[in-house]
């Protein structure tokens, strides 16, 4: 079990302690640095390809077939997991779980650290999780674990993710997959 991070149980996004906010349009955040989207995509791919138990956490917005875009994203996320060699653990709803969650099969925004600890996950991608729940989960993970969190967000990004790429729609996911393939080759994987 990791120690508490410096921001402990602050009500604010933990990252604001580091002066971090969401990236400008067309940009991405890598830890404390605002970079071009493509630079972030390469780094995110590298982290996922080289970290222990890298995992994608798809949320309700992509798990369920409620729109054409969601259906497209599902196919792309599946491909992404194959390219990255990443496991997938879904966040299929946000209900607090009683008496306990099964950390092998799900991640829950109210105690996401359990899934990270239990599966010893060192890097993860949040995708399709509604803003508020992504923020809560990312904040807890940031303060309680040593997992490198990546927010692939369809809106303006998440300050509490260690890397955040914003405005990610299906065309952007396709672009990311191509970049990930290149990085994988460069790494000789």
């Amino acid at each position: 079990m990791a120690n508490l991070g410096p921001a402990d149980y602050s009500p604010y996004p933990v990252a604001t302690y580091d002066g971090l906010y969401t990236p400008d349009e067309g940009k991405a955040m890598l830890l404390t640095e605002m970079v071009d989207e493509e630079v972030a995509m390469r780094e995110v791919a590298r982290v996922m390809l080289t970290s222990e138990n890298a995992t994608i956490f798809p949320g309700p917005q992509v798990l369920y077939a409620w729109s054409e875009e969601a259906k497209k994203k599902a196919t792309l996320i599946k491909e992404m997991s194959e390219v990255l060699g990443a496991k997938m653990i879904p966040m299929y709803d946000y209900r607090p779980k009683y008496p306990k969650i099964d950390a092998e099969v799900e991640i829950n925004p109210n105690h996401p650290n359990l899934t990270i600890w239990h599966n010893n996950i060192k890097a993860c991608i949040f995708i399709g999780v509604h803003c508020h729940y992504a923020n809560v989960a990312l904040k807890i993970i940031r303060s309680e674990t040593d997992c490198y969190t990546i927010g692939m967000c369809a809106l303006s990004g998440h300050e509490d993710a260690m890397a955040t790429i914003r405005d990610q729609h299906s065309e952007d996911l396709a672009k990311f997959i191509e970049i990930a393939k290149e990085v994988k080759q460069e790494l000789g994987k």
Partner: protein, 289 residues
Amino acid sequence: MSVDIYKINPEFRDIMPKDIIDLEDNATWHATATKNRGISDLPDKKEILEEHSLCAGCPEAAALRYILTALPIPEDTIIVNSTGCTSLMFPHIALHTVHSLFGNQNAVASGIKRTLDWRFPDKTKDVIVLAGDGATIDIGLDYTLQSWFRQEKITTICFDNEVYANTGGQESGSTPKGQVFKMAPKGKVFDKVPMWELAVTSGCQYSVKLTASAPKKVAKVLREAVLVARELGPTYIHLYTPCILEIGLAANEGLWEMKEQDKERFESFRYVSPEAEEYLKECKAKGIL
């Protein structure tokens, strides 16, 4: 609402737990089920109310389950809730719910209903308020009554446990005279507010008082109230769901308390306006009741 939000993208079926797949395959949505939801669906349908964080044996949880089984179109129903023990159940149900600021529930519901009627003129959308006695009869009384005066087409359900349970046992307008609680040590000085009667004088088309002792009866009343609200105007259900914690009963004693009160404070009261009576007959003839 489109029930597509419960359809799992095929790429993810292998990582979804069985109970979520079951929800897609077997859920009792009006649009997809072969028959209407009913009390017999209670034991094994995930979407009704699987788990909750109320006290073990709390009659509020049982009553909400009965209500959920009786909704005519669950996927097109919105329940507006207020703070209190009841609100602890809403994160657990597969239904649109709005947690309004304590007491504001009937005002919020009126706005939602009017907007839905404007936004979806060709669709039926039911709006139901479900709140405790503190929210309905004390702190939200103004909004409750105003929604009735204004003939808003919503159903109001009060889960009357005769106490502010969630905050640890203060007396409410609905507490019976003389009752002592942990935080009402001198005993209630005034009589219980007869809300079911106020509902009638304030313009409700339908007002029923009952306990949650008989599941099918609760389900029938709910269905009637929702159908009348849809067509004619406000309806009210005053339901006794005792707080077993505050009156010192064990987890298995709520039912007996309700059965006892069936003969006393919650002896059945039923008002149906002549128009509503007529309309319910029509519904029966059409087989929707």
